[in-house]
Symmetry: C2
DNA sequence: AAAAGAACTGTAAACGTTTGCAAGTCCATG
DNA sequence: CATGGACTTGCAAACGTTTACAGTTCTTTT
């Protein structure tokens, strides 16, 4: 391994000078600097992250908290985006885990992480709250803490748009199947009721059904329950695109045709929604932006602590993607 | 931050003793050790990974090389499994990237990674080969280097099983759509020809078509080309489950019904294959095992260098999953 | 009772950086 | 020609560990 010392010896300068030259400090003669940099290059020098971190208390490494083992394309995309954005800014990504012995916070401290993005977790659990409320810079995605900034989707408005979209296309009996309770679900359910109300739509008992995210089976069952109602809906919103697969099979079994007998609406706008037939009407989240914003928010906290308010909340809007699972606009 | 020194002061012992006690070394009085450990616990001590890595040259951190931005459930699952297995063994996972400035190898060295799992990459590119051939412990997944161990699926035998499975169900005109060229594809195509040959099946010109992995569109086009042949196939194997979605729409457009007019076969056995109707006949890879083996192979290299041969190759078998996209066995 | 070993603990160097401080050289200013 | 500043460089300490070596005490062996 080539160290600063080796370069210093060959250049007949001190380690300090080499360090300064390689870090682009201005207070070193430009010729010397050039010579040092050239030699470093030739010798195949690269710094030692551990030594640097030890000395500076900065690791240029950020953690991702991701608890579940659900394999949602949305999360893959998000992680990927976070990774590439972070890399561009000179940071690496390490997964943050909670082993039996160490809590998240300790683990992050142990690794010397500069900050953590809380991507997917039981947000209200003690370990996660400890982390979010700690001195470590954090950013939450799709959950709102008072103690750290967050990036959230426009859950409220997106549902509003979807419901109105269905309404314009003549659907009046609109039902909503939601995922497991939590911040996101609450937002969406609220949005649903509010919009129905403002459109003068009645939401009969049983029109709001519980299922799980990313699980066609439970959504198929919710669909079954909806169809068994005395006055079944003519349009159903689902928690995500993938879950619509359960709806498709269930509706087919019931002999209902999409979109004439019943309209269905997904959420997320993952690739799947564009390749199934009919193409799914859905709401495409701007995953790219969410990932980028999370990184930006985190790094700005890391590099300029105190500049941003702890409760800053960036709302990232998505876009309604019309598909073939709703009737076209009446002419 | 609590350091060894702090504990040493409070316990009236030297830093060395504290270090030994906390590392469970035997040569420290058990009472002293107990006292030290208790106090360390109370004070909320956790070691400093950077300092430790600097001194020992071990980071307990392994890298994952993952170039593409394709979001395949298979890769999510694999990464997840690698992560959990590694964590169990006390290692963390960091993504390895290649920025403009540093190659993979340098990046890995810079971060002091103990080893790297090459998950998805342009295996033959100079940067990746440099890494694989270096002093750094590496394990490749689904590619065979001579310079580092690997974990691969039974691509050859799986295709054999699938073709025979179709054959038994009366299909005789079997075609194969494959993904982009490379190690995996080569293995599978070889397997296909070999099995057809041994079954006495003719493989007419055009029965082997090129498409891309995880891309319904190109697979739809390949399907179209197959159907336009003078003697079109009665059964088609696709590169993966997801790509079959393209086949479904294309076949529907052509007015062919599955599985009576035409049989189709996927690959991977991701969740999708179980929720589409008809349920897909496919080959389920043992992702769990692949992930685990990769970690095991890597860690054994890290912890006992030279014990395993550099060209060790673990083949992980999957399992054929019969579905409804092939006719049942003739009675 | 002396010698030898076992058990325990401390000293100090080392890992590769960064950085505050001081010192040196050189040039322009007065 | 003395003074002061700009520019460049080196010295040395520090970051938090681990570990070889040596020293001390205590027990066992002869």
């Amino acid at each position: 391994m080539v160290t600063l010392k080796d370069i210093a010896n060959l250049c007949n300068v001190s380690v300090a000078t080499v360090s300064r030259a390689l870090n682009g400090q201005s207070d070193v003669n430009s010729n010397t600097a050039k010579r040092i940099r050239r030699l470093a290059q030739e010798m195949g020098y690269y710094p030692n992250a551990a030594a640097r971190a030890l000395k500076t208390n900065r690791s240029y490494n950020i953690g991702i908290l991701y608890e579940d083992e659900i394999h949602h394309e949305y999360f893959s995309l998000l992680i990927d985006r976070i990774r590439t954005t972070a890399e561009q800014k000179g940071y690496d990504i390490t997964f943050l885990s909670k082993s039996k012995q160490t809590a998240y916070y300790e683990h992050a401290k142990y690794r010397g992480l500069d900050g953590v993005i809380i991507l997917q977790a039981t947000f209200e659990s003690p370990e996660v709250m400890q982390l979010a409320g700690s001195d470590l810079p954090c950013v939450a995605i799709d959950y709102q803490y008072t103690c750290c900034p967050c990036v959230i989707s426009d859950h409220h408005s997106s549902i509003d748009q979807l419901v109105r979209h269905a309404y314009e296309r003549g659907y009046r009996k609109i039902a909503f199947v939601h995922g497991q309770p939590g911040y996101i679900t609450d937002q969406r359910v609220n949005g649903f009721y509010k919009t129905c109300c403002s459109l003068g739509l009645n939401v009969p008992e049983g029109y709001v059904q519980a299922a799980f995210y990313h699980e066609p089976q439970s959504n198929a069952e919710a669909t079954k329950r909806l169809l068994a109602l005395p006055d079944p809906p003519s349009c159903i919103l689902y928690p995500d695109d993938y879950s619509c697969l359960g709806a498709f099979t269930q509706l087919e079994k019931a002999g209902l045709s999409i979109p004439d007998d019943i309209g269905i609406i997904g959420y997320d706008g993952i690739m799947l929604s564009t390749v199934i037939r009919p193409r799914l009407t859905t709401y495409k989240q701007d995953v790219q932006k969410k990932g980028e914003m999370a990184v930006v928010l985190l790094i700005s906290q890391i590099e300029a602590p105190g500049v941003r308010p702890k409760d800053e909340c960036v709302v990232v809007s998505g876009q309604l993607v019309p598909g073939g699972t709703l009737r076209p606009l009446p002419t």
